[in-house]
Symmetry: C2
Subunit: 645 residues, 2 copies
């Protein structure tokens, strides 16, 4: 038999997949909870949001308010890293209902003697919870409600604010109903706001043909810091397999001094917990991490769960790989393609518990060395539930560890990885080109439920992707790509030296770099500075100074009737920082148009003047109309205006 609850609670938001998926927030963010709370009949109902951090025993409580169409809402702020939970409770509030009813009756001049007697019970029931002063008041109420001689006092007190507040303070939750408990994961700020730079440590040397070391990397740290990057990501730093090693340009027969792909992890020198001997020692690595930290930079490691054929695991734990009936090991393949330098881990292994534990232990090992950010290679080729388990296992112990999912695949696969717990996700930004595409994509990320669980990271390029739009592009296009990435998304990254130096030679007809650094050491002039480095540095500085750029979801595209000009309004939650950004998408020509100010969102009355100040050029304009003229030359193809009302 069903229970007697009279309140029904539905459509609780934010929630994803009926609460199976944690929504994501960062420390200090506000969670706006809404839900439909209804009951039969006309009685007064009440609802609260209960929430708590995983290390708290008691629920905190915040009262919900009805808005319209039986929707109720309340907000709370999440102050600590880790798991939070929340739920809605609702009940028919008989005390408030009594007060509401007696007030209506008094207003229509009915005698309420009988109702006053009922009031005695409501006073009694909260008596035990009340303070001494309140108890006195409640005693007094019971007396006047009970005795006919004090009718006027009684009705004054019955509908008093004072009694109302006591009923609110000490709700009698009779036949209370509750929504499901819904999960939130709270990260540190970096999860939402990060600026990544990628280079290969083995290319860090200033000398031609010499294998770079962590010591060389240390020398590059001030440069990375000066440019305003806070996260330095290295491709794998482990020993590289010698069996079936790849040569330059992904050739299958490596020459004697070819260094191989650093994603072909493991050799007789060690596996995932070992550092490539030519890069240095663990001590060198820790020293690098410390030096970086001193400059405000975190080192992000690559976490690539695959093995070269000579990885120590293959002999030690053969059961973690798939063996074929002819006794050979299963190489990675996507038929008809085969990748003979890489063995995939066999997740169907019956020994999977030890395998998973070892995968976790790798993370723990590097976390203890000081690494708190992992860029996960090809997570979409490993089981989703494995990621759920390993990310939760890490965060249980180290809630400040962050994971970036390197998946460039079908939309629902990428979304699923985010749902399983990845902190950030590579995105399709790299292949969005037109105004229409940018608007559609960013609105999909920020206006659908994806906003709750998927934090995109916008990369104009990576060692794997030499995108068509940058092949042979001019300086203007590079500037555009960085300004778009760095202001449309609060998480941004570049495969640095190649981007800064506009290197874009490709394998014919492919989005792959010619002489890709994946298979060889490259030599860069790390001392070189140019307009691109200057603008990147300036943009990164602006990002640090403007909260509006430190989150992705607060964005509204503005009307601007020129398909080559993209305009958007960004703001911080408190609306103390408001920006208007306009980008010229045409790398060759000056573009002009009229942009519409979002007056509603800016809370500016028509005709009220605003001052906009371009953070790039320092120019200031005074606008007193809704529509304003914009002209952008391709040599400096954007405005970032602060809006001063």
């Amino acid at each position: 038999m069903q229970n007697q609850c009279r309140v029904v609670i539905e459509n609780v938001l934010p929630q994803v997949n009926s609460g199976e998926v944690k929504i994501k927030r960062i420390i200090g963010e506000v969670v706006h909870v809404t839900g439909d709370v209804i009951a039969d009949g006309h009685d007064v109902i009440a609802a609260v949001v209960l929430y708590k951090h995983e290390r708290e025993r008691k629920w905190r409580e915040v009262r919900m308010q009805p808005t319209e169409n039986d929707e109720w809402n309340a907000s709370f702020s999440v102050g600590k890293q880790g798991n939070y939970h929340f739920k809605i409770e609702g009940w028919v509030d008989y005390s408030l209902n009594w007060q509401y009813g007696i007030q209506r009756k008094i207003e229509s001049n009915q005698n309420v003697s009988s109702e006053l007697l009922e009031g005695v019970d409501y006073c009694k029931s909260i008596y035990v919870k009340a303070t001494a002063t309140e108890k006195k008041y409640l005693k007094y109420l019971q007396e006047v409600f009970n005795s006919k001689g004090f009718y006027n006092e009684a009705i004054t007190e019955a509908i008093s604010e004072k009694l109302h507040n006591l009923f609110l303070k000490y709700p009698e939750k009779y036949l209370v109903n509750s929504s499901n408990v819904l999960p939130i994961y709270v990260d540190r700020l970096k999860a939402r706001f990060s600026t990544w730079y990628e280079f290969f440590p083995r290319s860090a040397s200033q000398q031609e043909g010499v294998h770079g070391t962590f010591k060389d990397c240390e020398k590059l740290l001030p440069r990375v810091a000066d440019m305003g990057f806070d996260t330095l990501y290295f491709p794998p730093i482990h020993p590289i397999g010698e069996v079936n090693r790849k040569g330059k340009n992904n050739t299958t027969n490596a020459l004697r001094d070819d260094v191989g792909s650093c994603w072909g992890i493991g050799s007789k020198e060690g596996g995932h917990k070992t550092i490539h001997p030519k890069l240095g020692t663990v001590k060198d690595f820790k020293s690098l991490i410390d030096k970086a930290k001193g400059l405000g930079i975190e080192i992000a490691m690559d976490y690539a769960l695959q093995a070269a054929p000579d990885h120590p695991w293959v002999k030690e734990y053969p059961q973690w790989f798939k063996w074929r009936p002819d006794g050979t090991v299963q190489y990675a393949e996507n038929p008809p393609k085969k990748y003979q330098d890489i063995l995939p881990v066999y997740f169907e292994s019956s020994d999977y518990i030890n395998l998973w534990d070892e995968c976790l232990d790798i993370l723990f090992y590097w976390i203890k060395c000081g690494v708190k950010i992992f860029r996960v290679d090809n997570p979409h080729t490993k089981p989703f539930y494995f990621w759920n388990w390993i990310i939760n296992s890490v965060k249980d112990k180290y809630p400040d560890v962050l994971f970036l999912a390197e998946a460039f695949t079908r939309p629902k696969i990428m979304q699923q990885l985010a749902k399983q717990g990845f902190t950030q996700s590579y995105s399709y930004f790299t292949w969005r080109n037109t105004k229409h595409e940018f608007i559609n994509y960013v609105e999909e990320l920020t206006k659908t439920s994806q906003r709750e669980y998927m934090r995109p990271n916008f990369w104009p390029n990576t060692p794997d992707i030499n995108p068509l739009n940058l092949q042979g592009a001019n300086e203007s296009k590079y500037l555009q790509q960085y300004i778009l990435a760095a202001t449309l998304s609060s998480n941004v990254g570049i495969y640095g030296p190649v981007f800064e130096h506009m290197i874009s030679d490709s394998l014919p007809g492919k989005e792959e770099y010619l002489n890709s650094e994946k298979f060889q050491i490259c030599k860069y002039d790390w001392s070189k500075k140019n307009k691109i480095t200057a603008i990147i540095s300036l943009l990164n500085k602006i990002r640090k100074e403007h909260e509006a750029l430190q989150q992705t979801n607060n964005i509204k595209f503005c009307t601007l009737e020129n398909d080559n000009l993209l305009a958007y309004y960004k703001w911080n939650d408190a609306k103390t920082d408001e920006l208007l950004i306009i980008v010229n998408l045409d790398q060759h020509n000056t573009q002009q148009g009229m942009v519409q100010l979002p007056l509603n969102e800016l809370a500016i009355p028509h005709g009220h003047p605003v001052k906009v100040n371009d953070l790039i050029t320092g120019s200031t304009f005074s606008w007193d109309k809704e529509w304003n003229f914009i002209e952008l030359h391709s040599s400096l193809p954007f405005h970032i205006f602060t809006i001063n009302k």
Copy 2:
């Protein structure tokens, strides 16, 4: 530790409230299931829908097919009344994956000897399930896959359709994952398609001032049947309270011979299981039910859970009512209003189990008398979960019993009652007037998730509602209201005699009838026929002959650039019955306009001629254009065209 499943299943539809709410179907309807089914990596996956009726032990299985964006779908038909359940299962299909891979490799001229050896295992694993003939074939396959001498035969067989079909027939569900089990309730056709007529049995007499009886009602049955109604609904037929009885026009002091409101149920003569002595006996009632049945009419009873102050329950079960501290009983009230002729049932009673059981027993009592349809009075003033329990309890024993929820309140309350199990719901149709309002409202009912659980019943009027749009309206307006109700919704009803005779005198400024039949006996000339009765009869006949009008969800509004003309296309699932309906919403003037044929939905190429035949006038038009001229006079303000291609 999480499991090793590689497949994730999400967004399974149809489902409502994460499967807490049953979706509704009728016997023979098809359930189209869709869901996102994904796995990591590139392996071939498979998915099925499993479904079964509550009385079946084994799941039936239907294979799903991928469409686009990782969505899969399958359909099944529900053949029996009662509860069904379904779920999706998905797995990486290693056999199919092997076949897919070996085919790609053979196509690119790789040697697949090693792969053929793997094939032996896949043949072995399905061997036990195979028929004798299949076993022979599988043995043969193992031989050729195993021996180098038959390479050509082996690769031909490996990629053969024959083997493929065996893999499909005997899937190896290794590490299978499953969605939640989702519920469906399957009703008989009447749940979806019903035509209601309401009158008060006490007004059934042909003699002025004489209380009608069930015998009088029997005489009216042929008339109701001739007009094409299949459901005859009576307001409560129980003894009416004498204490605080209401007089004519809802006055509080009844005169000696006032009959009272039949919703004030119970007197010394009995309660909810008793028949008002002036109407007749239980035997008379059963005879009426039988006679009606013979004419294709079901009698629908009113189920109103409230008591007059002299209802036998009040003395026998005082604990089922709320008693106030001053010893008086709690009347129904909505402060400051009081309803002293009615006591609400006290659902918070600690004796609620006996109360609920008695409420259920009332239903069982009348069901045993032959009643299978209940119109439930004010369900929104009784707890939602009570309805869930009582409807399920009835349907467990009598799956063919139907419940119509008489709730005219806020949208989410009405939706909730449908979610808790009501078969049909009164709707806002009564207050929709403009073209825009009709389109919006019908699209809300048929294009949102409401289509899955809420079956509206469109009533132009009820004894409680004398709508403004009918007060003083002309014949054209009455015709409009019935054609709209009867073709926009497959469930329709009228408070008959008043509607047919265009009686619409109202209490001043209210949507209530003057001299309301709720409080007195009315005298009608039951022999009278007019244009309204003729058109209603014709429309009801058309509804019976056209499957397109026997469901509500298959509707598409057509463009017609005149706000006074509403056009819509209706079809049955098989698309063997297609109608185009056009209604003139202007009760005074002829209206003209061009209607756009929905060529896509009709699968008619541009320029292909169609014949449309008006079922009302018999006129036939030949149209060979997309846009066609329509003119409707207010005297016959609609077309119902069949479309013949």
